[in-house]
Amino acid sequence: MWPNKFDYARAGSVDEALSLISEDGKYLAGGHSLLPVMKLRLDAPGQLVDIGRIPELQGISANGGLTIGAGTTHDAIATSADVQAMCAALASACGQVGDQGVRNFGTLGGNIAHADPASDPPTVLVACGATVNIRGADGSRSVAAQDFFVDLFETALEDGELITSVSLPNCSDCQCAYVKFPHPASRYAIVGVAVCLKMDGGTCAQADVAVGGATVKAVKCAGAEAALAGTTVDEAAVNAAAEAVKADIADWLAGDIAYPESYRQQMAGVYLKRAIAAAQG
């Protein structure tokens, strides 16, 4: 299958990319979401601006927190010692994306801009309080991950805007984990749960929980968080959180004929328990 015809331009810098992009243009990073979509004629942009070689979009810096360039591949994130130390859940999520070929070329920026509901990294970014850094014709802005994901395949990005990086707080003192129920064929998440527990002695001072896959976008789960915070994360608290999470996601459920909404909602509770167990290591 050939994609539609389009004009192609390769940008050497963020400034150049912003000046090149036209009204019916799209940025091309790894191409591992955009090209499949174009081959199926679900999208037919008139122009592609290749941002895959822009040095400013590459790499991971650890300076108090983490800053990950939008063009950094899933594999580079999954295998980064800094990410493993400062946000183990994100390293794990990126390591569970697709297969090795996808992880070698798919990027974090492309993944979150595409905003597939079954993606893995968005769930961790929402749980861990990440910030998405964006450049546009009018300058720079930063959006909390929770506000960045708006709906099914819909983000806060305006036309022509480019994600430059994602920032994350240092989670090295937290117990954090991402677990996923992968679709047996596609490996995308049927349900993915990220948890981040800040422990003070034996007590959970703060709990952050997000669910994806089961929902049209990654959803922060206040009810489950409240059920865990202030407890020792004992069996009763975990069971309460697993009940609460089903209500947290009730308004956002997604499903299909094989894995309907009600099933995914149940599995979110099951996978929350597994995520907590994984976080507690």
Binding site: M1, W2, P3, N4, K5, F6, D7, Y8, R10, L28, G31, H32, L35, P36, K39, L40, L48, D50, G52, G98, D99, Q100, G101, V102, N104, F105, A185, S186, R187
Partner: protein, 155 residues
């Protein structure tokens, strides 16, 4: 658009339509038909090649994205007339039936064992999740890869 892509050690300069996928470039421009198109939707891995040493599903990248890169296809895996150990192992263990998935399986497995000598059977099965075989039930494929992984760990 003008591209310069090195394939199996030979530099090819061509003028391509930007929408040309790398797999089309290999098969139709260069007549390297060892690389197969199975699903054409990024799922099956029949089109797997190496780009600068990394495994890639060549149906999911534009040729223009590979400009300046070094590609290795199944035709370029043998060296000095000697099969790559992974090719030999697939032969010895009969890791194929119809053979359609085989070039992709071998390219993916060769990169995996290079990076993970001594990999366990479980790791091999997990790694091959991006390569689908409709014939073998995977048993002899895994056996072949394990043979090379064990040998690589011993050396």
């Amino acid at each position: 658009m003008q591209v310069a892509i090195t394939v199996n050690g030979v530099l090819h300069e061509r003028d391509v339509d930007p929408r040309t996928l790398l797999v089309h470039f290999l098969r139709e421009e260069l007549d390297l038909t060892g690389t197969k198109i199975g699903c054409d939707t990024s799922q099956c891995g029949a089109c797997t090649v190496h780009l600068d040493g990394k495994v890639l599903k060549s149906c999911t990248l534009l040729a223009v994205q590979a400009d300046g890169a070094e590609i290795t296809t199944i035709e370029g895996l043998a060296e000095n007339g000697q099969h790559h150990p992974m090719q030999t192992a697939f032969w010895e263990n009969h890791g194929l039936q119809c053979g359609y998935c085989t070039p992709g399986m071998i390219m993916a497995s060769a990169a995996f064992v290079r990076d993970n000598p001594g990999a366990s059977e479980g790791e091999i099965r997990h790694y091959l999740e991006g390569n689908i075989c409709r014939c073998t039930g995977y048993h002899n494929i895994v056996k072949a890869v394990k043979q090379v992984a064990d040998a690589a760990a011993g050396s």
